[in-house]
């Protein structure tokens, strides 16, 4: 710029007040006094200290659980992970059924809530509701400013309703599961067991709490996570990609399957992994609904147990020896969830970085 307009750079004719000249009291800006510099240094040190505290605190949590678990680890060894008995009277402990139950319930719940979560995310992100309502209002001939605000408002309300699912406490879902889901499942479960009992999925009758009610409630709890994160991934798909597909004559769903979903796939996958991590650690609803039975079964109606539910149910009444064993189980749960969560956030990070070049 200065090469193009050499005359623009001239000395100012009006004398400029030195901004650091505070002696006459007219200067606004001035350098900090030594006391202020001291305060600044110590405040920055304080913030830094708190940051260190947070980082060390997480390490302390992990080490605390690991340290409390060492007596049981040295006594029970790897057999703890592969055996199937849990008998405090005989001091026989092992958690293979709980590991199985944790993974089985989480995978099943994830399958259900993936279908629903991605469907809801598409419904919200692709503007089905808003466009549908706009068309409806057109047909009804309603064009006033009041009516034209309805479609967007409806979409916002729907989004908040889905988010509301996440606000309901886990223990309330457990209560609801006990008094709504289990009674509602009794009849269909009995019918399925009678007609298709030879399938291993339905090989046992539902006698109250069991895997299926737990999985259904768990999938409801995962839905808002998957929906919110998948919606974020879908909205981040650059509009010009959609435009190109529409321009080539693709229908809305051809665009979704060929462009939107593949482009958002990484983000959606990261969302699923994070939801899986949530499912593994979810406690109260499962502790109330899964049945707390120490058994390995693929049957949907069989009672089972999960690591988190085992901890919730056994901890309050455990003696000092059993506590160390439970700490070992907690360490196993911690290890599994840590791996899954770190993987999930790494995937989401990569997904958002992958989008950068496309905009």
């Amino acid at each position: 710029m200065s090469q193009l307009m050499p005359h623009a750079v001239t000395a100012p004719t009006v004398p400029v007040q030195d901004p650091f000249d505070a002696a006459d009291g007219r200067g606004v800006a001035r350098p900090p006094s030594s006391a202020q510099r001291w305060v600044d240094r110590s405040f920055r040190g304080l913030c830094r200290g708190f940051a260190w505290l947070c980082a060390l605190f997480v390490a302390y949590i992990v080490l605390e659980i690991a340290w409390k678990a060492t007596p049981a680890m040295s006594r029970l060894g790897v057999g703890f992970l592969t055996g199937t008995t849990w008998d405090p009277n005989q001091e026989q402990y092992s958690i293979l059924p709980e590991i199985w139950g944790t993974l089985y319930s989480s995978v099943l719940a994830l399958i259900i809530s993936t279908f629903f979560g991605v469907a809801v995310a598409l419904f919200l992100a692709e503007g089905f509701l808003a466009d549908g309502l706009t068309t409806l209002l057109d047909r009804l001939g309603l064009h006033s400013p009041f009516w034209s605000r309805i479609p967007d408002a409806a979409e916002r309300v729907l989004r908040n309703l889905i988010e509301l699912l996440a606000a309901i406490p886990s223990v309330v879902y457990g209560l609801w599961g006990l008094f709504v889901v289990i009674p509602a499942l009794r009849a269909p479960a009995a019918w399925l067991h009678e007609e298709f009992g030879s399938f291993s999925l339905f090989s046992t009758p539902l006698s109250g709490p069991g895997m299926l009610p737990a999985v259904i409630v768990l999938s409801i709890m995962l839905l808002p996570t998957i929906t919110a994160l998948s919606r974020g991934a879908l909205i981040a798909v650059p509009p010009k990609l959609r435009m190109a597909a529409y321009g080539l004559g693709a229908t809305r769903w051809e665009t979704i399957f060929a462009v939107n979903l593949p482009t958002a796939a990484r983000g959606i996958f990261g969302a699923l992994v994070l939801a899986f991590g949530r499912a593994l650690g979810e406690t109260m609803a499962l502790a109330m609904l899964v049945g707390n039975a120490n058994r390995i079964s693929v049957s949907l109606f069989s009672p089972a147990n999960t690591l988190a539910a085992l901890l919730a149910n056994s901890f309050p009444e455990a003696g000092p020896k059993e506590i160390t064993v439970l700490m070992y189980a907690a360490l196993v749960l911690l290890a599994i969830t840590l791996v899954v969560n770190i993987l999930g956030s790494a995937l989401l990070n990569r997904a958002s970085r992958g989008m950068e070049g496309l905009h």
Partner: protein
């Protein structure tokens, strides 16, 4: 149009009526006899149906809460202590107080730590190693199973002090609140327009003065939203309290003193305990307590969202 294409939101009929200005959309031809368009319409309805289906549990939960809970939400149940088995009446007043006290204690610990750490994170260089480690730690805590927060608090507080206590419960809740407060505060601080920060520094303000006089006041709505969300989540948590605060049939204040080193009642644990007993009175109270807890959580959540809406653009 060029501006519209730059936006990351998809172009919608509802938001861009001008795009379709010359077209009467209702007269556009769309024959459902062609498989492509039929599939298109069918899938749209399938997705709409699945969305409605996904909302059924929400309304079912709310309906059951009102149906079973409302008849026992009374002055008596809000102000009296839990009944013994087979005893009539009673309430969950001490559990409400216990929940508020423990969530308050947890906030007292986490708000200063979380906000000051966020100040550090928001001012740190992107390649700062400590900042990266802290963010990683916060992410780890975000996905931390709530039961493990309880296990940790049991080991670190209950075993160390030798008794179940409100402090133990608060420690468990604090672990779950910290990442929310820290990450939302950092976001709020980063949203402060950089020209405000630059102006403060240009005037000769130290980074402490910038933080206290410019960044924090501007970011207060965002930080408050994060705190509200964290409080709402903590109020509903059961797992960290189960074997740290345990439960109590008595008021947390006795003889004029706040008993923070005694077992403490909470709404969530009361619901869990009473859901598993065969007495009608207790079950009714569990529903009523659930209704009160959900209302509490929703009100705090809504307050947080209101604050978020007022955020500086």
């Amino acid at each position: 149009m060029a501006q519209n294409v730059q936006r990351s939101e998809p172009v919608r009929v509802s938001q861009h009526p001008e795009v379709f200005a010359g077209i009467d959309r209702l007269k556009l031809e769309r024959s459902l006899r062609r498989p492509r368009t039929l599939l298109n319409a069918a899938l749209s309805w399938v997705v709409a149906g699945m969305t409605m289906l996904a909302l059924i549990p929400l309304f079912s939960v709310l309906w059951m809460l009102v149906k079973h809970g409302i008849k026992r939400v009374s002055w008596e149940s809000l102000t009296s202590t839990p009944p013994a088995p087979l005893e009539a009446g009673g309430g969950f007043g001490n559990a409400i107080v216990g929940t508020l006290v423990m969530v308050g204690l947890a906030a007292l610990i986490t708000v200063p730590v979380g906000v000051l750490t966020a100040v550090f994170l928001s001012q740190a260089e992107p390649e700062n190693r400590l900042a990266q480690v802290v963010r990683f730690a916060a992410k780890v805590l975000t996905g931390f199973p709530s039961i493990l927060a309880g296990v940790f608090a049991y080991g670190a507080v209950v075993l160390a002090t030798g008794s179940f206590s409100a402090w133990g419960g608060a420690a468990g809740l604090a672990i779950l609140m910290l990442p929310t407060i820290m990450l939302t505060s950092e976001d709020a601080l980063r949203m402060v327009p950089s020209k405000m920060r630059d102006a403060a520094i240009g005037m000769g303000a130290t980074s402490t003065q910038t933080a206290w006089l410019v960044l924090l006041p501007t970011a207060v709505p965002g930080i408050a939203t994060g705190v509200m969300l964290a409080l709402a989540r903590a109020a509903g948590e059961t797992a960290p309290l189960l074997f740290t605060a345990l439960f109590s049939h008595y008021w947390i204040v006795s003889q004029g003193h706040l008993q923070l080193t005694q077992p403490t009642a909470s709404l969530a644990v009361l619901i869990y305990n009473f859901a598993g007993v065969p007495f009608d009175n207790q079950l009714e109270l569990a529903w009523a307590a659930a209704l009160v807890l959900v209302l509490l959580v929703l009100v705090v959540n809504l307050l947080g969202q209101r604050l978020a809406a007022r955020r500086v653009e």
